[in-house]
Symmetry: C2
Subunit: 497 residues, 2 copies
């Protein structure tokens, strides 16, 4: 096989997988925005299974290995994009091939089942029902660490699956910094007695909807290159860079939920919509990692849209829409969208306490992988850690250890990417502020300098660089959690003075 | 290759193609019900092209030919379903392989382009713009006849593509019977001076929508096994037998349009929803032909829902919804939903004159294929035939020869299936009436005996039997246009007495 043949073969595989995933994205959108007829579920599942399997089979079959080896031999002659494609394909191929196929198949069947069981177990608050599943799942994950291989810590093998380059050394330092910087602050705020006014009452859902085009236009989501929909659990999905779709869930009694979750999904979408088209054929017009994606969603959601400047822009729009806000001023709105209060449920957590929820999951996962704790110990340890870090204790496992779907879906090592991504965002904004007056942009209602900076410094790279490379290029240094800790400390100390 | 291996290989191909088509059906639904972002069109087209191409490549590649030959050698040992699958796959494979690949590719590119040009040509009433395209398209179709092969008439080769087993001999007899039986009737009605009251005015679209669940439930479309949507040009699409989707276009000033087009699409959907599940793996849970499908849509639309009995059920629902109908009675409604009037546009034609539009296209296509007329003669001949058969003459080509998309899309031989199917429907209902009191079912608001008869006699066969086989099994005789002519003569003579 020549270099050209190897390159052509791999590009063809990348193209096939891209098309299959694009179709699957629409199939998934269709199912989540308008449902699947109950009786169609088996056939719909078989179709999705076949298409996903086909993408997998295309990748691992035929001459993939020979092409990867051939191209690797020409490493010095490859363009930046070709090298990055080769790196990503090698990475995925090596991982996929390291797992015995029968083990992979058994595990897929297990997690398909355990996700269904989890729904019931959570509803019935029955950890015992999940215990045998969790034990098998974590047992598989421990073996996965060996199959994948690792240098220092077995958990590193899993972390890298979700956040390329993440490892225990980096994350221990990261979470230590958070613990040191934020846990005392959370306690101080609790003791301060400051109680900002809350937004309460019922807000007409059609009126809520009327705010969204303004909001998504403001942050820079291009509605002409996507679609919007309503779903139970909001998400963003990419059909291609010119068809990036976002969704919203409306709650009459939680006005802020639809607004901020829509900005969150818009952040994911803006990243996808601004990938360079030229990277598409290499499969690199994609987020650099889960964490990098989350850095964008949470940057727009929190750093931009929970700012004082944005509260000032939001208030007149809220007043136009809801008479309720006649008596509110900018400062009270700013405080209301930043109320922090230790709570039990991760997905409802505020900006300050969010990463504490992740820290708990990180510490527990790490200890299970090393065998320091047993799966059956999880409920008690979970509750103890919530008590220690957040000063709240779940009354039952449904609001404790059973709250997240991830473990039942076989995803171990995923959670940290949420917190790491959020911290990336703070590091980016710190660097951005050297050349962009972010508050001024918000005040002027023109975020294009912000989106422009992120495009030039983050989106432009697609998945060509690793997260560490993007951070270095964009901010001049590697991952540094201090910016995140400082940002939160400054903001919340001042809010709760 | 053993018999078992050949069978397995073909079943696997059928399964792969089924899954790809199922995904494409959702992709298409998504595009037509909520649009494709303008800038996403190239990528969306590439994705659809790749997936369709993949279904094609799967079918023609690898050991398909060997498997077909192997299985053919065991013909006497095959089950009914296996034989039918082999017959269908052989039929498709032989046709596909008969066309030189470079010719096929060139023609695909030509029709992709000519469909776009057609939009403009029709809008600008410019036949000259389409002429070079039509000439190339018909030239290709003439060569296609030779590649496919035929016994008696070259046009037979094309007809069979859309209506299996149809040929010039059968269709000449069919259209002669129509011409003889219906043309004089159309003229008599025109001369009778009878002018039934028309439904006119504006009808609130939300109120129109509120009627549809009742209507589709009435005819037997199972809404729990599908979805409904709004589009520009209504269609029915099948994801799988438990997810069959129908669409509607509402016009404030044409109340009947949404109602009857929805019944039409429901008819297609009822056929699909009632296919035997066991035929699915053979790729035979499918309409037996285009004509057989059209027989069902038009049977529900016209024979059932334009009946006197249905007018009596419809009136109270219309009265509940629109005060406009307070002054209407059952007889006037029955007459209003059956107004016949020679017109220029096929898709807006009434039940009686519809097949005249098809006859014109049939005669022109046949004459072009034999070379008896030239493509450049089409506009004049088209107008002459409208004058002769319907007594109306197009004032320009936009409302004449340019009105249909079919030829620009490369579909020659398609039109007759519409008329043939309609006639099948009349033949089925004639047979059905020996055991089912259809009017009584409509009066009682319970069509299940009708759907049940059609399921047992038509749907049950899927695509196992050819259309001729289904007609023979269901009605005891081969295709006999007399039932259709008699049905229309009786109905419209009586209406316009």
């Amino acid at each position: 096989m020549t270099k050209t043949q190897a390159l052509e073969l791999l590009l063809q595989k990348v193209e096939a997988i891209k098309h299959i995933n694009s179709a699957l994205s629409i199939v998934n959108w269709d199912a989540l925005t308008s449902g699947v007829p109950q009786k169609s579920l088996p056939a719909a599942g078989a179709m999705v299974g076949w298409l996903s399997g086909e993408a997998f089979r295309r990748f691992v079959s035929g001459d993939t290995q020979e092409a990867l080896e051939t191209l690797s031999a020409f490493a010095s002659e490859l363009s930046l994009e070709e090298s990055a494609m080769l790196r990503e394909l090698n990475r995925q191929y090596t991982k996929l091939k390291s797992v015995p196929p029968e083990e992979h198949q058994e595990f897929s069947a297990l997690t398909a089942q355990s996700q269904v069981i989890w729904e019931t177990a959570r509803a019935q608050n029955d950890f015992g029902m999940m215990l045998p599943y969790y034990e098998k799942i974590f047992d598989y994950q421990r073996r996965l660490c060996d199959w994948y291989g690792y240098e220092k810590h077995p958990y590193d093998a899993l972390l890298d699956d979700y956040e390329k380059g993440a490892n225990v050394e980096v994350l221990d330092a990261f979470f230590s910094a958070l613990r040191e910087g934020l846990v005392p602050l959370v306690k101080e705020i609790g003791a301060s007695g400051v109680k900002p006014a809350e937004i309460s009452g019922e807000f007409d859902i059609d009126k809520q909807k009327s705010l969204l085009p303004w909001l998504t236009d403001f942050v820079g989501y291009d509605r002409a290159r996507g679609k919007t929909g309503e779903v139970e659990h909001p998400f963003c999905t990419t059909v291609n860079r010119n068809d990036v779709r976002i969704t919203t869930k409306y709650h009459a009694d939680k006005l802020l939920s639809a607004l901020f979750s829509t900005v969150h999904e818009s952040g994911h979408a803006i990243y996808e919509q601004n990938m360079p088209e030229a990277l598409d054929r290499y499969g690199l017009a994609d987020g650099a990692s889960m964490g990098m994606h989350e850095s964008q969603s949470r940057l727009y959601e929190n750093i931009i849209c929970r700012s004082k400047a944005f509260a000032a822009r939001l208030l007149p729009k809220l007043r136009e829409t809801f008479a309720y806000f006649d008596s509110w001023d900018e400062d009270s709105l700013y405080r209301a969208i930043n109320i922090t209060c230790p709570s039990l449920i991760r997905i409802e957590a505020d900006e300050l306490t969010y990463s504490m929820h992740i820290m708990i999951r990180y510490e527990l996962e790490k200890a299970i992988i090393t065998g320091d704790i047993k799966v059956s110990d999880l409920p008690g340890l979970w509750n103890d850690k919530y008590t220690e870090l957040l000063g709240v204790r779940p009354e039952n496992d449904a609001e404790g250890v059973l709250q997240d779907v991830h473990w039942s879906g076989g995803m171990v090592g995923y959670f940290p990417s949420y917190a790491v991504g959020t911290a990336y965002g703070a590091q980016f904004v710190n660097a951005m502020k050297k050349s962009v007056d972010v508050d001024r942009c918000v005040e002027a209602g023109d975020l294009s300098p912000v989106v422009g900076w992120l495009t030039d410094n983050v989106y432009r790279h697609g998945a060509v660089l690793l997260p560490s490379g993007i951070l270095k290029e964009a901010t001049g240094e590697l991952f540094n959690p201090a910016y995140y800790v400082d940002y939160l400390s400054d903001k919340f100390s001042s809010l709760y003075k």
